[in-house]
Symmetry: C2
Subunit: 344 residues, 2 copies
DNA sequence: TTTAGCACTCAACCAACTAGAGTGCTAACG
DNA sequence: CGTTAGCACTCTAGTTGGTTGAGTGCTAAA
């Protein structure tokens, strides 16, 4: 275990390095207000801390920087989360008041706000459509051979699907089909619709349509898997401001991570614990080339069931105290607003 | 006007510089197959071309590179667009066959394809929802005080709107209201809905709902302006591969341009001519800091009315011949597929 | 009019040197 | 015995000066 003095020194080094991005020397540590010891003493302790793996030295005659393990200890035991003022809290509240018709927009704005307040890149993942339950199917004919099928979920989300009728099937047949499905599939989660139809309704359906092939063709279109929940990123370019990413090569692999469609970020977000703020440092993120990156995650929930997550991406040398404090406030606040929103 | 020899030299310099990104010296020009003159002759002509503003010199003892005017001349008079092979054309065709239910997806895939084939960043803007015409309104009650209003347009596009009922208004009143609007607003473009209601239907509406304030509150929600047409970008990070953007500062302003939400890109895309491929070079793009950038645009159409545009963004030292050829093929092909798609 | 030759320019590269920040160790101090 | 001052040592970053080579512009010859 670390002595009280070692903790204080580690803390000082972390804070200093996070601010300056330069290796911290013994002199500057000893000059800090909270540290009363001479540079020489600090040097001894620093050598010990390095031996224990909390610090590292870029080269012999440079100062020390926190190692991944050092950050871990700092985050877990040393930092005090920043308390955010009313102004920011107010900005969060506004997100949901301004734009109550589309949650997607509120989520997008959350992402922007997060990035603005922290000056890091933010990532937000919205409710997984697949987990919503079916509330209502609605068909709207377009031409003789095509229609739009609208799927409304229990949370008021709407998804459309353009459907082409198979050869020889009339709109009225499809209408009856939709009516039947409407009665039978209420409350089933979208991801299971197709399954349930096949298991429980196959027989019944054949009574409606003579040709089974056409039916399958139609159902496949109607109940096609919903698109993955979208992720919203904001402030991607803020990464470029961080001195550790001056290296173009690193930068590129990082941007590729964020350039939409990338599964690994989604997985990370989904893996966030249902309550509290989680900090992943360096290779704790199990993604190739994610050294020097930290990822702070918190999930938000509806009726105490986790339905999405917010994340902030930055260098390992990240202002943890600031971001953790903010994420805590935001995630809780969003959950509250979301619940209110759906109760109306 | 330029002599035939000068044209050939300018052409050679452009091609060489586009490929190598290094200033081109007189020797390498004279060694090109199509140029039979000695280095000394070329030097004289180069000096002339520089005087006329077609070339510039990074410093005294370096080769020449094309100026913006030089590129302009090259694009307008010297290059021959690349003819693309069956393979690529085939890939384009597939876009619409694979995924006929969502045009949005086809558009997104177009963007990806464009970026993959060119190795530059691509931007695509989809149909402007505001210009669609109303086909059908459909209301789906959620709770006693809220409902989802679904707007189906003539092109089969669907937009949802969550609506909160004003205090004291019942669902059935809203249902009647929707029925009325359905009858009266058919064929009106979405952007004009609100206007038409106010102008032509105000009187009639007051018969349905006693309190005018509630009505306005409701209509505002129902007919809220549709979100701007989304832009799809792909291959953003490809910019990092271009040696001219090694400078982080330039890089950042460029990425900021692309980082969604940016109006200037949308405006540029919308300004593309209804037919043909347009090339904007350097400060012809009237955006701050867009020197060293070129933007190639083409629009696609439905029933010969332009409804969207595709664009490729790259350094001024861009493979114009390749990209122009491709854009020409793609834009025409998409228009064709789109028309076919909506005829079904 | 075209080309060969030549002196000149300038960025890029390399090596040597310097300055400065920081360390580790040792010896003295309270 | 823990703490501190002093000092020699190390290593990077920045500077200087010299060299190289690509490329130019000019002039004179073909």
């Amino acid at each position: 275990m670390l002595t009280e003095r070692q903790k204080r020194i580690l803390w000082a080094i972390c804070e200093d390095y996070i601010e300056s991005a330069e290796p911290v020397g013994s002199r500057s540590v000893s000059k800090k207000d909270d540290v009363g010891f001479s540079a020489a003493t600090v040097r001894n302790e620093m050598a010990d801390l390095e031996e224990m793996g909390f610090l590292e030295q870029p080269h012999t005659s440079a100062g020390r920087i926190p190692s991944q393990q050092g950050y871990r200890f700092y985050v877990d035991h040393l930092l005090t989360p920043q308390i955010w003022g009313d102004e920011e809290i107010h900005a969060i509240h506004n997100l949901f008041q301004k734009d109550t018709t589309h949650i997607e927009q509120a989520i997008e704005h959350t992402s922007e706000l997060l990035s603005q307040l922290t000056n890091y890149t933010s990532v937000v993942i919205g409710p997984k459509l697949q987990d919503h339950r079916l509330r209502h199917l609605q068909m709207i004919p377009l031409t003789e051979h095509s229609a739009v099928l609208i799927i409304v979920t229990d949370l008021g989300h709407v998804n459309q699907q353009r459907v082409l009728l198979p050869e020889g099937m009339s709109i009225s047949v499809m209408e009856r089909l939709v009516n039947l499905l409407n009665k039978r599939l209420q409350g089933i989660s979208l991801s299971k619709l197709r399954l349930v139809v096949e298991r429980d309704l196959a027989d019944e359906l054949t009574r409606y349509v003579a040709e089974y092939g056409s039916m399958v063709f139609l159902l496949d279109q109607m109940l096609a898997p919903q698109p993955e929940s979208r992720i919203y990123t904001s402030g991607t370019t803020k990464m470029l401001d961080q001195p550790e990413f001056r290296d173009l090569h690193k930068m590129k692999s990082l941007l590729d991570l964020l350039d939409g469609k990338n599964q690994s970020i989604i997985q990370l977000l989904n893996s966030s614990p249902s309550s509290g703020v989680q900090v992943k440092i360096g290779n704790e993120i199990s993604i190739e080339g994610a050294n020097h990156i930290s990822f702070i995650i918190a999930s938000f929930s509806l009726d105490s069931e986790s339905i999405g997550a917010i994340g902030v991406l930055g260098p390992t040398r990240m202002e943890y105290a600031k971001v953790i404090g903010l994420m805590d406030v935001i995630s809780k606040d969003i959950s509250k607003r979301l619940t209110e929103f759906y109760e109306k």
